[in-house]
């Protein structure tokens, strides 16, 4: 087994174990910090897939933005001492059975479907191509995305401000 395969197994292990901790941990702080491991592991998978720009975006937005936002929300909304009450889980056994059947079906499908293969798999820098695609082919979705972000920003401000009653 060469080095890159070993690193791949390590990245997969980190991703799956920390995702499991997000799903099963009793303490919401542990859940939030395990999400960091999942996001980093997924960024590692992107690097294995030759998607360098997406990996950088994943680190910047998920780890630098969304995770910090989630941690802030955890700190602002609950008393950290009584985690048993605030991170309650219900209906675990039926959910586990459902998820078990579901994952067996998914893996069966993945294994048995003859996926289309590209002629050659390339590992090349992607940033320039993605930038070109955003400014020519995907210009309208790109501009719409900025409108969605503006709307989300205004919506978040309106929702979270305190109303002062006269």
């Amino acid at each position: 087994m060469d080095l890159s395969t070993a690193v791949f197994y390590l990245v997969c292990l980190i991703t799956v174990i920390s995702a499991g901790m997000v799903a099963l941990s009793r303490n919401i702080i542990y859940s939030a910090f395990s999400l960091l491991g999942t996001f980093m592991g997924v960024a590692g998978l992107y690097i294995f897939l030759g998607a360098d720009f997406v990996a950088a975006v994943q680190l910047l937005i998920y780890v630098g933005g969304i995770l910090v936002l989630i941690l802030f929300a955890v700190m602002l909304t609950h008393r950290i001492t009584d985690v048993e009450i605030t991170n309650r889980a219900a209906g675990r056994v039926p959910a586990l059975i459902l998820i078990g059947v579901f994952i067996v079906l998914l893996i069966q499908t993945v294994r048995e479907t003859p996926w289309i293969k590209a002629n050659e798999v390339v590992h090349a820098p992607t940033t320039a191509k993605i930038g070109d695609a955003f400014l020519y082919e995907y210009l309208l979705p790109f501009e719409l995305a900025s409108l969605v972000l503006l709307g989300a920003m205004i919506g978040a401000v309106v929702l979270s401000r305190k109303e002062i009653k006269e």
Binding site: T15, V16, V42, L45, Y46, G50, W115, A118, A156
Partner: protein
């Protein structure tokens, strides 16, 4: 399960999706539910990028993944603002407590 097989990435995506769905189904804390949604979006992104690398040979899947990441950021901002508003109103973020609309 080797790094140059499509199916290994799809299996990782399937496991992430199942764990995210489990989180969404079982948690009663609204922030934990949002964490589960983030896991599900990440699994979809892994699939997009894997198919873009192994099947299509162009960058379309990566661009879709970037759009999904962007929408996840917007969703997290608005979702957590709603959670904070619910917390100010009910002093809890248990999703079963916020049932004022229930007749």
């Amino acid at each position: 399960m080797t790094p140059d097989q499509l199916s290994s990435y799809l299996v990782i995506g399937a496991i992430l999706f199942a764990l995210g769905l489990f989180t969404v189904l079982t948690r009663r804390n609204a922030i934990s539910v949002l964490m589960g949604v983030e896991l599900i979006l990440n699994s979809a992104n892994v699939n997009y990028v894997a198919f873009s690398h192994f099947s299509s040979g162009n960058q379309a899947g990566q661009i879709y993944a970037i759009f999904v990441i962007m929408l996840a950021a917007a969703e997290a901002a608005v979702g957590l603002a709603i959670v904070l508003a619910i917390f100010q109103l009910f002093h809890t973020i248990d999703v079963e407590a916020a049932e004022t609309l229930k007749g």
